[in-house]
């Protein structure tokens, strides 16, 4: 299994005990995120849907690539990959 580093944005650090980075093993992005959710309960419902997809308000990047442009949660993870959880930021004046 590959060891990846998951970077946690500030709004989700209450689920990781304040940690900005968590090292997790897995061969796909989905495996890494599910393992992460097992370590830090409560995180899963923030980032994954019940049907094991990525929530609309979250983007997942592996290094520089959004996994939506790769193979989604099946995207492979190589040793020392950095996985970023990026909150979707939106709004408007009315």
């Amino acid at each position: 299994m590959s060891q990846a580093t998951v970077r946690i944005p500030a709004p989700l650090r209450s689920f990781t005990g304040g940690a900005a980075e968590v090292a997790v093993e897995g061969d796909t992005v989905g495996e890494v995120l599910r393992s992460l959710s097992e370590i830090h309960s409560g995180l899963k419902q923030q980032i994954l849907t019940d049907k094991d997809g990525v929530r609309d308000f979250v983007n997942i990047f592996v290094d520089n690539k959004n996994i939506r442009s790769l193979a989604g949660l099946e995207s492979p993870v190589t040793e020392d990959a950095v996985i970023y959880i990026v909150p979707a930021v939106a709004g408007g004046g009315s």
Binding site: A10, A90, G91
Partner: protein, 153 residues
């Protein structure tokens, strides 16, 4: 006797030096009458949010750019990387409300995250009119004081 009400202000203060406020107004006004958006980079303490840099980002909402924004996640990622390399982090989001008050809209509330300062700049044809900061607490926004000067010794 009226029931006890929660205080409608955030427990944090956003420190935003005057030079950054001016820079932000310029960014926001340059996009008028469209919305502008970007990120606040700095250090987040328990009660004091220090802004070190304001960063513009692309608005990917091309359908309603006059009253909606969708911040480019690639810009978020690049800003986050650069910030962490300096020992800083993304502490907030800024965006403009062209010809609307600097108050969060329902659309802002739908997409908000706890833990960030949401700085809103009201822009008009005559220039930036107001700047106010908000934080999501539970299911609502509360106002956060914006300080220009560091008041601590």
């Amino acid at each position: 006797m009226s029931p006890l009400r929660a205080v409608e202000t955030a427990s944090t203060q956003l420190w935003l030096p005057a030079v950054l406020q001016h820079e932000l107004s310029r960014f926001a006004q340059a996009s008028y009458p469209l919305e502008a958006c970007g990120l606040l980079v700095g250090r987040a303490g328990d009660t004091k949010i220090d802004t070190v840099r304001v960063v513009p980002a692309r608005n990917l909402n091309l359908e309603r750019p006059e009253d909606r924004y969708l911040l480019d996640p690639q810009d978020f990622l690049a800003t986050d990387r650069a910030a962490r390399a300096e020992g800083l982090e993304i502490v907030g989001i800024w965006h403009s409300h062209p010809d609307h008050p600097a108050r969060p809209s329902g659309t802002d509330l739908e997409s908000a995250w706890e833990g960030y300062s949401y700085l809103i700049i009201s822009t008009t044809a005559d220039g930036a009119a107001a700047l106010r900061s908000w934080r999501l607490v539970g299911d609502r926004f509360v106002e956060e004081a914006v300080e220009q000067e560091d008041t601590e010794p």
